[in-house]
């Protein structure tokens, strides 16, 4: 089961760890096709060209394997979809809850991955 976006999807725990191992800069948005999540997916689709050194993925929040994101300590206290997590060399460097604007996302990308 995957999300109806044009992003690359993560559908299993094994794939998640493989991506983090093979890529230096990764942004994963874990959500549903809802009004708070879709704008973030759309921004990520747009940002791919502008940030070719970053890998952008989505993951369906309701997948059992999405526990790898749902249970991250950095997401403790999150109560708003989507959970968006930024990784540098496999480590979480930033995580946000709920809808984020393009400016909020690019601020994090520039700060963490420039």
């Amino acid at each position: 089961m995957t999300l109806d976006t044009n992003l690359d999807h993560i559908s299993s725990e094994a794939q998640y760890y493989e991506i983090l191992e093979k890529n230096e800069n990764v942004m994963i948005c874990c959500g549903r096709m809802g009004p708070m999540c879709v704008p973030v997916f759309a921004e990520m689709e747009d940002l791919r060209e502008e940030y070719p050194h970053i890998k952008f993925y989505d993951m369906l929040f309701d997948l059992p394997d999405a526990k790898v994101i749902r249970n991250l300590p950095e997401c403790a206290g999150f109560m708003g979809l989507p959970f968006t997590v930024y990784y540098k060399n496999g480590k979480v460097v930033k995580a946000t809850s709920s809808i984020q604007s393009r400016d909020q996302i690019t601020e994090i990308l520039n700060e963490q991955f420039s």
Binding site: R32, D46, M79, L81
Partner: protein, 308 residues
């Protein structure tokens, strides 16, 4: 890059999508430029009980259906568009975007809608997504068996309070007046629900917590007295503010920053029309937005034909 259309619609809520359906079906080359996502405020509604012909449809599904209907007639719908400049003077209307070039048309329909009004109190931004939400459909599931507050007294607040009872163990509706703006049926349903309690003549003056929201400060607006309320979550439904800031120096707005239109949805500038929640009117419903969009589209068709 120039993109030429007959009509540009700004906004993809029910007013904009309806106008898109009517115009495209009349072979008018139309694009919807949407700064957010399709559906606008409608997409945040868990269940819409009063949209004729579609009982209990979700706002999100109704948005998707309207978009598909518009696209089936040839209307182009672009979401997440960032607009940098408007030039409404002259026969050619020009709209510059940040990454998609300039859009040029003979007429424009502004259907920019509104956005959720915030309480603007300390802690509100800090705990957004960490206990504070503006979308029951999106975040209700995080509050299973928890105690929450719903702020507001209109249709959205009371209907979403009832919808949230499927998750929360207790809901306290905090409302600034001692009466409700919601329709009678919504009020009765909320009042009769065993999980819902009310604190009237009150508002929230601050939010506190650590990792997530833990406490809201409730203020009685009659006595000024404030007290802490331990809480797991707060949903805020206190109405909308019109999205008309870019048009302040261009169009005639009223004191609430709503666009003033005549009965044909025409603004003070020839070729510029407006429809839906961004306009000055009394009732803001999906049905009234659909009506506005229809009227605007039909008058735009006449306007374009008169320009030939």
């Amino acid at each position: 890059m120039e993109n030429k259309y007959d009509v540009i619609i700004l906004g993809g809520g029910p007013a904009g999508l309806t106008a898109g359906i009517y115009l495209s079906r009349s072979d008018i080359n139309t694009v919807i430029l949407n700064e957010g996502i399709t559906g606008g405020q409608m997409s945040l509604t868990h269940k819409i009980a009063n949209y004729p012909g579609s009982p209990d449809v979700s706002g999100y599904m109704l948005s998707r259906t309207m978009q598909k209907q518009a696209e089936s007639f040839g209307c182009k719908v672009l979401s997440n568009v960032k607009i940098s400049d408007y030039d409404f003077m002259g026969d050619e209307k020009k709209i510059k975007t940040e990454r998609r070039g300039t859009f040029i048309s003979k007429a424009v329909i502004i259907a920019s809608g509104g956005k959720s009004r915030e309480l603007k109190v300390p802690g509100e931004k800090e705990f957004a997504g960490k206990g504070i939400s503006y979308c029951a459909t999106c975040d209700g599931g995080f509050f299973r068996d928890k105690e929450i507050i719903v702020v507001g007294g209109g249709n959205s607040a009371l209907e979403e309070a009832v919808a949230l009872t499927q998750y929360a163990s207790k809901i306290t509706v905090v409302h600034e007046f001692d009466y409700f703006q919601a329709h009678k049926k919504a009020v009765e349903e909320a009042k009769n629900h065993p999980k819902i309690e009310f604190i009237l003549n009150s508002t929230i003056s601050a939010f506190y917590g650590s990792m997530s929201l833990e406490k809201a400060v409730v203020k009685n607006l009659k006595t000024g007295q404030e007290y802490d309320m331990k809480i797991d979550g707060v949903f805020i439904f206190i109405g909308y503010v019109p999205q008309t800031k870019p048009f302040k120096s261009i169009l005639s707005l009223n004191k609430r920053d709503e666009i003033i239109v005549n009965e044909n949805m025409m603004t003070n500038i020839p070729g510029i029309f407006a429809a839906g929640d961004c306009t000055a009117k009394r009732y803001r419903q999906i049905t009234t937005a659909v009506s506005d969009g229809t009227i605007a589209a039909l008058n735009v068709i006449e306007y374009i034909q008169n320009q030939l």
